[in-house]
Point group: C2
Chain length 321, copies 2
C-alpha cells in the first residue's frame, strides 16, 4: 500500500485495473488520467481464492471505495478471459480506442457498480487466427501518449507471448504472437537443455557475449532455431560454451529467431520498431535488434494505465457513476 492518505488527495474519477494471469495492478485516477494512488498485488486471476473476483477487487480498492463508493471501474487483461471473471468476446482488428470503448463488457450487475472490461482482440482472416488480451490496452495507451502513431508503425511487446503489432490510422491493424518467453521457460525448466545449465548470479559481459552469439547464429540460420536449439547442449559437451552461459545463449537463439522471423513479416522499412516492456527485457531486445542492424525506440512505462484511461474517456465512463 502506498500513496497519499484519503484525506489529503483530490477526489478520484476512475479506478483502472490491469488484471493479468499472475498479478493485479490498480490505479485511482483523476479526470485527466493522472494517478492519485496505486495498489499492486500478486492476486492474478489464477490466484483468486474460489474465483471470488468481486472480493479480490473490493479488497484491493477498499480505501478508495470507502471514500467514493460509486467510482466507475475499467479493467483489462486476462480478467476478461474464459478463466477470468467473465469472458469479454474478442473484437476483430482493425480496432482503435473508440472501437474498444464501444465493445466494453458491462459487468455492472455482478460487480455491484459501474464495471467494464476491455475486450481482447482477434486478427487474421488468412486462416491463421491470433489473439491478444491486455496488450491492446497497452498499445492504445502508448498511442495516446503520442508515440507510435506513424502509419505502418511496428510495435513489439516482448514477453511470455511476444506480440508484434502493426499500426495504421490510429488503430491496431494486425498482429502475430511468438511464444518466446514461454519456450525459454519450458526449455530451461523441463528439457535436456536445462540439465547442463548453471544459473548465473548477475548479467555480465560473458553472458552478454553468449546472448549476442545466440542472436547472431539464429540470424545466420535464417531463424530456423529448431536446428540450433540442440547446440545449447552440444556446445557445452564439447567445451565450447560454459554452463553459466547456457541460459543467455538460449535466450539469444530464441529472441534472435523471433526478431529475424518477425521483421520479415512486419518490417516495411518505416519508423524504428517501438518496444513496450519492462526496462530489463527491453534492453535485451534492443541489444538483439542492434545486432540485426535495426534501430528501436522504447515506450515510456505505464502504458496500461494510460490505455485504460483513454478507453474509459472514449466510453464516457468518467461520467457514468
Amino acid at each position: 500500500m502506498s500513496g497519499l492518505s484519503g484525506a489529503d488527495r483530490a477526489p478520484g474519477r476512475l479506478i483502472a485495473l490491469d488484471w493479468g494471469t499472475s498479478s493485479l495492478r490498480a490505479w485511482l485516477l483523476d479526470g485527466e488520467g493522472r494517478p492519485l494512488d496505486k495498489r499492486q498485488s500478486p492476486m492474478g486471476i489464477l490466484e483468486v481464492p474460489a474465483g471470488d473476483f468481486r472480493t479480490a477487487f473490493e479488497t484491493i480498492c477498499r480505501d478508495w471505495l470507502a471514500q467514493q463508493p460509486s467510482l466507475p471501474v475499467i479493467a483489462s487483461g486476462m480478467i476478461g478471459s474464459r478463466q477470468g471473471w467473465r469472458e469479454a468476446p474478442y473484437l476483430r482488428t482493425p480496432a482503435n480506442p473508440a472501437d474498444l470503448a464501444r465493445d466494453l463488457l458491462v459487468m455492472d450487475d455482478v460487480a455491484g457498480r459501474v464495471f467494464r472490461i476491455v475486450p481482447g482482440l482477434t486478427t487474421g482472416g488468412d486462416g491463421m487466427p491470433d489473439v491478444m488480451r491486455g496488450e491492446e490496452t497497452q498499445i492504445l495507451g502508448t498511442l495516446a501518449s503520442g508515440l507510435g502513431s506513424v502509419q505502418g508503425q511496428v510495435i513489439v511487446l516482448p514477453g511470455t507471448h511476444s506480440k508484434w503489432v502493426q499500426i495504421g490510422n490510429g488503430a491496431i491493424v494486425t498482429f502475430r504472437t511468438w511464444m518466446t518467453g514461454e519456450l525459454y521457460a519450458v526449455l530451461r525448466q523441463h528439457s535436456i537443455l536445462g540439465k547442463l545449465a548453471v544459473p548465473a548470479q548477475a548479467w555480465s559481459a560473458d553472458l552478454q557475449s553468449a546472448f549476442e552469439d545466440g542472436v547472431a547464429r539464429a540470424v545466420d540460420a535464417a531463424g530456423a532455431f529448431g536446428r540450433l536449439l540442440f547446440s545449447a547442449r552440444s556446445r557445452v559437451l564439447v567445451g565450447d560454451l560454459a554452463a553459466e552461459q547456457v541460459s543467455a545463449y538460449l535466450s539469444g537463439l530464441l529472441i534472435g529467431s523471433e526478431i529475424h522471423d518477425a521483421m520479415r513479416l512486419f518490417d516495411a522499412g518505416g519508423a524504428p520498431p517501438l518496444i513496450i516492456a519492462e526496462p530489463e527485457l527491453a534492453a535485451r531486445y534492443e541489444s538483439a535488434f542492434r545486432i540485426l542492424g535495426h534501430a528501436t525506440r522504447t515506450a515510456p512505462p505505464d502504458a496500461a494505465v494510460r490505455g485504460l484511461f483513454a478507453i474509459a474517456r472514449s466510453a464516457a465512463l468518467l461520467d457514468a457513476a
Copy 2:
C-alpha cells in the same frame, strides 16, 4: 524373457547391448550376427539403482553368462555418456565402422570380462558442434544391411532428438540434431498449448487432417514455427481447431518445420531420404515428406543389433574371449 532355453540353442559368440536413457535391449548373437535370444528391460541408464551398471548387465544376461561365462560384450548408446557407466569420448566425423571399431572404449576391467562401448560421434568444424550417441550404431547397421550406402545418402532418425545424417564413402560424413520430439513433449506437458488439448483415443482421419494441416502451414511459413506455435492455441479459441486435434496439429507443425529446414541443408537431389524409426513414427514422417513432395524409404528394423555386430566383427571382438 523369451527365446529358446539354453539347452536347445547353438552356442553364442557375442552379447550386443543397446543401452539407452530409458531402456536396455540385449541380444545373444551367433558368429554371423543372427539373434539366438533376446532380452528387453526398462532398465535405462537413468533407472539403474545406485548406478550399479554391472549388476544390471549381469542380471539381464544371467542365463547366457551361466552357459558361456566368457562371452564378449559390445554396447552402444547412453551407457557411454557422462551419465552412463563410463564416458566413451566422442569420435569426430567422418567415421565408418572401422573407425568406431578402432576407438571402442575398453571396459574389461570394470565389467570383469571383455566389454566394449561404441563411442559417440561429434561433428561440425564450423563452430556449430553436434553430438550423437547410439544413432551411429543404428546407421552403420543399416549400411551393413546394404541400404543407404549411396554417395550423399540422407538418413533421418526421428525421435526425441531427431538426427539428420549425410553418408559418403561408407562413412557418416556430417549430421545435425532437431529437438522435435522433446519440443513436442515439453510443449504438450508444460506450456499453455497443452491446456486446451484433449487427448484423442486413437489416430483417426480428423487427426491425420490436423497433422497434415500443421505440416503444410510449417512449410508455408518456411519452417519458422516460432510464429506458428501459438496458433495451436488461438485456433482453438476461435473455434477453428478441435481440442482433440491440438496434439496432432502441433506434431505436424514441428515435424513439418524440421523437414523443411533440414531438406534445405541436406537435400542434394540424390536418393530418397532413408528413415530409421519404429513403424508408427516412421509412418508419421513418411506422411509429412509426402506433403512436401519427397519420396522416402524406410530401413528394416533392428538396425542397432546389426550395427553392434558389424562393429564387433570389425574389431575382431568375436575372437577376443
